[in-house]
Symmetry: C2
Subunit: 422 residues, 2 copies
């Protein structure tokens, strides 16, 4: 008997037939005596369709209206999933939107952050022996406007709901059966990881492993909520609910050492991540003042833009150059913000951008104590004739910005070189 | 300088291109110094698509979930229309859903009735010189659940908003250029009516003229709000806003007498209406008690079903037969309600139904004082060899239930016989 949050991604609710399977699974889980809370994403393709409509009408559509538009996708799948459950077991599901379940957020449209969840409605629904079916991705700000949590935000909804409901675990059903040593579409030799720590998962999510939204992992880590990543593809083959193999993201890794490296002392590279959605921005002739950096990055932060690798370089006695990477989707907003700064005291600053970069990273605990790991990475890339644009390192990762076209070659070579291929 | 509500139907916002035209029209109207409030339906086809999805998942989907599902259609068009206006004139539109504009309704899902509208948000938006862009068709009940107002409910939203905002008029933009003497698709000789009274329009809407939802006309009549029905098809050809020809629904008809009838004294038939969406239900062996009728029709009314023509007939000393017509969409719900009565004291009652009937009606003020009018109608139908199943009359209409397949023939013959063809 457990209280379980089950979150289903876009592919898992992508057709009427799949929604029916999701409904059956939730009902089977309840039949085993568990309390079930369902969270759903929009039907696959729907969010992209809505984004395309908005972009046809407005060059930079990000606004309250944009969030209202996108939130309709989860509204549809939420209502349909509840209808499907009610068709199997009349009256046993209640559909609930972000505002109904009291998911309060700030007003940062398109990437709002959850401030609080009102667990009363959730508890009342469970007390009535109903399955709350919750629209992921959305919340409501203090003015009552619909907000959305950014791409993959339904993961964050699911973890937040699990925490608010004091659930035993959060199950994330998706179109892959877990987290892999790298993206299997890029490198067919990729293997599933059975258990991974929050920290490792954070680096992997951040670097584009795309299985879980990074914020959902941060949240899970903060409250130590176990998150199981599972495939929704063959749920119907099981006659009753049981927790299946996948990847468990938890506080302590239960990963067995299976690497083919020569010694136990060698730094453990757990995974290779890559992200082909990067833009490098270079600002030249930035005044060399102590507050210049703060001004630039505060302006970007206020617009809700996450800046990744940052490189600073002196150009002359009075000016400097700044290079950094951001996600492609933030590019227009960033350019507008930086443009405003040009008219506000940074008159000489010029903006250069290089699109279509990939960031490829190696991840593993204890990497920093093995400087040879970064060197080996550079060597592998050099051997493949791949030029490196920018480098950044942290305690458990080394990242290189390279041309997008070289991404696949880089990932495959690194996966093999660090002994991750079977 | 007027305060104008402009409501755009599904075809008018059916594509990105048409939404752009709607945005231009609203901006042109405001440029002439008017205050504009926009109300939109779902993009054409969207509601049908959502209904089909729900019906695949649940045999009788009508519930809170169903309304949540359908309301997403207007959420999308509302957000897109506001984005389109903001792209023409930055910051000049605000998208508002039913709950945000405070459209409170009862909890009769799929056919909720408006209880009140909070005009504060509306006024505050207008005070900021913004165009409120409102999602039609939807409201919110006292529990915060989304409700919808039934097919064509956006008309009712528009009129209700016009009343709450004390607007000068409500303009309904649709894919026809006004109200016709009959449906031009059924009878090519149909002509546009320039002005019609609320009462005449009520009968026409009720009988299936389909240009305006009947409840919107009832509401307009109650508050004497002028409603202009206009075509949205060639808005872009005008460089500036001007009120164009269409049909004005208002307290006093300004219709000129243009009929080709032989004398001014002849009863004025204004229009021929028809509705092919009727089901006739016959109940046999209903106990002949004084409360039988009340029990049957109270049960149907509680389920929100509008019953039209009612015929009562004695079968024996102790039982009677009851025939009545309802809309096809209410048939499953009605059957369930009547089934419950069979187990609750009406054990002998049997339910028969005839689907695929059409109701064809002639409408005109002063008809009741000319008994010859009904007789002429029966004569015309007899001459066309059309059998009449049921008849009902009111002060300004006579309706006959006939086979659905005879509908077109009947409408064309009546349109000619009553001198409505040019």
């Amino acid at each position: 008997m457990a209280r379980i949050v089950q979150k289903f991604g876009g592919t898992s609710v992508g057709t009427i037939d799949r929604i029916r399977k999701v409904a059956e699974w939730a009902v089977k889980t309840r039949a085993e005596g568990h309390e079930v809370i369902v969270v759903v994403s929009a039907m696959s393709g729907e969010t992209n369709r809505l984004v395309a409509l908005a972009k046809e009408l407005h060059p930079n559509p990000f606004s309250a209206e944009y969030d209202m538009l996108l939130a309709s996708g989860e509204q549809v799948s939420c209502a349909l999933t509840a209808l499907a459950i009610n068709s199997l077991a009349p009256g046993s599901a209640q559909a609930l939107l972000g505002n109904q379940i009291g998911i309060r957020t700030d007003s940062m449209f398109s990437k709002a952050r959850i401030l609080s969840i009102d667990s009363d409605v959730l508890q009342a629904t469970l007390d009535r022996k109903q399955i709350p079916v919750i629209a992921g991705f959305q919340g409501v700000d203090e003015k009552g406007q619909i907000t959305t949590l950014g791409r993959g935000g339904s993961d964050t909804t699911a973890v937040a709901i699990a925490i608010a409901a004091k659930a035993d675990r959060c199950e994330i059903y998706t179109d892959v059966d877990g987290v892999y040593t790298t993206d299997p579409r890029i490198c067919p030799e990729a293997r599933r990881i059975k258990s991974v720590t929050y920290d490792e998962m954070l680096e992997m999510a951040n670097l584009g492993s795309k299985v879980l939204q990074i914020r959902s992992v941060e949240l899970a880590a903060k409250y130590q909520m176990p998150v199981h990543v599972l495939s929704s593809m063959s749920l119907e083959s099981l006659s009753s609910y049981q927790l299946r193999e996948g990847t468990c993201v938890e506080a302590k890794s239960n990963q067995s050492v299976t690497h083919s490296g020569p010694s136990m002392e060698e730094a453990l590279v757990t995974a290779i991540a890559s992200d082909v959605n990067q833009v490098k921005v270079t600002l030249k002739h930035v005044p060399k003042r102590t507050d210049s950096l703060a001004k630039v990055f505060t302006a970007l932060a206020k617009a809700g833009i996450v800046v990744d690798v940052i490189i600073q370089e002196a150009l002359s006695e009075t000016t400097q150059a700044l290079s950094f990477t951001i996600g492609k989707e933030d590019f227009l907003t960033a350019k507008a913000e930086l443009g405003r700064m040009q008219t506000g005291g940074f008159a000489e600053m010029t903006i250069q951008d290089t699109q279509d970069l990939a960031k490829v990273s190696i991840i593993g605990v204890g990497m920093q104590n093995h400087p040879g790991v970064a060197a080996k990475m550079f060597e592998v890339l050099a051997h493949e004739d791949i030029a490196i644009e920018l480098v950044s390192t942290s305690e458990i990762k080394v990242s290189c910005l390279i041309a997008k076209t070289s991404n696949q070659k880089a990932v495959q070579a690194l996966h093999r070189a660090f002994g991750l291929s079977a």
